[in-house]
């Protein structure tokens, strides 16, 4: 037991010495995500208001009433970028989603603040969303395998991917 205590002590000191208290969870800023998506020429933000049918569908996708009135997005021709938030268990998870020709081309967790379930930010999980599109009744075209112990985070990401695809289908296309 003494050995365990000693090991833990050494481990604690090493960790504390090598790191200052740091906010975890910010993996990419919204600005950096947009810059990357549009190669430095970020178009002006546009807005979709959640009202009528759109609000009803958004509620069905999220399984609760959305706590926002509108969604900002950035679009250039058939490509659009969305930065959306959804609470996993307690804290909002911020996700950036790029859609091109009605298919997800990139999905990245920008901020994660839950105490568990942060495995969803890894490419091994997010790459499952590549080329996923919307099927009838707002279902994703592909099954997304979950992560044990991260059920709520997985669900949040699936909901946001579905919502982004749905909202993309409702946006007005502008000439590139």
């Amino acid at each position: 037991m003494k050995r365990i205590r000693f090991t833990l002590l050494i481990f604690s000191v090493t960790l504390l010495a090598s790191t200052m208290l740091n906010a975890r969870g910010v993996y990419q800023s919204r600005e950096a995500f947009l810059e990357e998506t549009f190669n430095g020429s970020v178009p002006k933000a546009e807005v979709i208001w959640l009202s009528g049918e759109i609000k009803q569908h958004a509620s069905e996708i999220l399984h609760h009433k959305p706590n926002f009135l509108r969604v900002r997005y950035w679009a250039l021709g058939s490509k659009s970028a969305w930065v959306l938030n959804e609470i996993g268990k307690e804290q909002p998870i911020t996700v950036g989603i790029v859609i091109e020709n009605k298919k997800i081309k990139h999905l990245r967790v920008l901020e994660f603040r839950e105490s568990r379930g942060d495995e969803v930010r890894h490419p091994f999980f997010t790459k499952q969303f590549l080329d996923v599109q919307l099927e009838k009744e707002n279902q994703l075209s592909k099954n997304i395998d979950g992560i044990t112990g991260a059920t709520l985070s997985v669900r949040a990401l699936k909901s946001l991917a579905t919502l982004a695809l749905y909202l993309d289908s409702k946006r007005k296309l502008k000439a590139q």
Binding site: L8, L21, N22, R70, R113, E119, H122, I147
Partner: protein
């Protein structure tokens, strides 16, 4: 007449300019209105965000109502019972972006108090500090990082009305201790937990009864716990936990018997298929009546028909006196059932259990359950 003609002509000539001026005014007004609407929306959204997460205090919870209908054989008890098994509330608070508090308070079996069936338990109450993006430390009372259900046991997340008997009787779920722990990720998909906590107070080899629940817990002998987990492929989790405690009887002198637990599990989902399998074994030094070795495992394949419906079967085997092969103590239970999720956070469950217990003291029958989380 001339005046009227002149006026008419003047209006006719100047009307495009007037219309143009009106259009410009109208557009200006529309733009101003847009700005006002956006400003209002922003205020409403900010206010909504503050009322939910902005104030940094969160609540959540889960609960489960069970109905058991078992027929006892060879002296085993029959049971027809309705029980609100667990009513749990979570309270959390973020002090700032890197320090947070989390707690879980549970009322078991509806009523607590002297002579009642239930109890009120504090199962989690800890403060967690972010040391860096990938490393955290926490102090307080927390769930021991072991098994599949010990840390994640909200009813919609698992199959079966009752928690599986292996994690209940061997692990022993739900198991919490107080102390200090570190957790984090040291490579992509690889995570660790390492802790020094209060320990069990095991008498007569009774592991489940040895949980002190951090209620004036005897801390003469502490416990070390470590877990390593790999989640490098989507849908797959492989983990192993080891605990070590000397002096599991918590006596001050004369005894320094050690207790060691080794647990490993795999949880895998791919498409509609799911599989959970867990193995756990205890070594209790010098425990008598075969209780020096206590071992169990289960295998649980599952099939998700759609988002709302899932089927499972489970084979459970556990033995709390595995150290003596002369004692008929191996227990086996087969489960098969269905989960129906009318909402992702609400579940209705039904299952059938068949036991092969020592002396054929079986409790066979079915269970129904309603669970929720928020």
């Amino acid at each position: 007449m001339l005046n009227l003609k002149t006026l008419t002509a003047a209006i006719f000539i100047s009307s495009p300019a007037l219309v143009s001026a009106n259009e410009a005014d109208l557009q200006k007004q529309i733009d101003e209105l847009k700005q006002q609407i956006n400003a209002t929306a922003e205020m409403v959204e900010n206010s909504s965000a503050k009322s939910t997460s902005g104030n940094r205090t969160t609540i959540g919870g889960y609960g489960e109502l069970h109905y058991n209908n078992w027929t006892g054989e060879n002296g085993a008890k029959s049971k027809k019972e309705l029980d609100f098994h667990r009513f749990v509330l979570f309270f959390g608070h973020e002090f700032n972006d890197s320090i947070r508090f989390f707690s879980e308070v549970e009322l078991e079996h509806s009523i607590a108090g002297e002579g009642q069936n239930g109890e009120v338990e504090l199962e989690q109450a800890y403060v967690e500090f972010d040391l860096s993006q990938n490393h955290r430390a926490k102090g307080g009372l927390f769930l021991v990082p072991v098994g599949i259900l010990n840390e994640t046991h909200e009813p919609p997340t698992f199959y079966g009305v009752e928690r599986n008997p292996v994690e209940k009787n061997i692990v022993p779920t739900t198991w919490w201790e107080a102390g200090l722990a570190f957790s984090g990720e040291f490579a992509k998909g690889w995570s660790y937990d390492l802790g020094l906590t209060s320990g069990l107070d095991i008498q007569d080899g009774n592991i489940r009864g040895g949980r002190q629940k951090v209620s004036k817990a005897n801390a003469e002998h502490l416990m070390g716990v470590g877990r390593i987990k790999w989640t490098g492929i989507s849908g797959l989790e492989i983990a192993a936990t080891a605990t070590y405690q000397d002096g599991y009887e918590q006596v001050t002198a004369g005894s320094n018997k050690t207790a060691q637990l080794f647990e490993t599990h795999v949880a895998w989902t791919t498409g509609p298929f799911g599989l959970r399998a867990l193995y756990a074994t205890w070594n209790l030094q010098d425990a008598t009546n075969g209780r020096d070795q206590q071992t169990g495992y289960y295998v649980e394949p599952a099939y998700r028909i759609n988002d709302q419906l899932g089927l499972f079967v489970r084979y459970n085997s556990w033995d709390n006196q595995a150290g003596d092969s002369n004692i008929d103590s191996e227990k086996i239970q087969y489960d098969a059932g269905i989960n129906y999720w009318p909402h992702p956070n609400v579940v209705i469950k039904a299952d059938y259990q068949k036991q092969e217990m020592p002396g054929d003291k079986n409790q066979n029958g079915f269970n129904l359950g309603l669970g929720y989380q928020f």
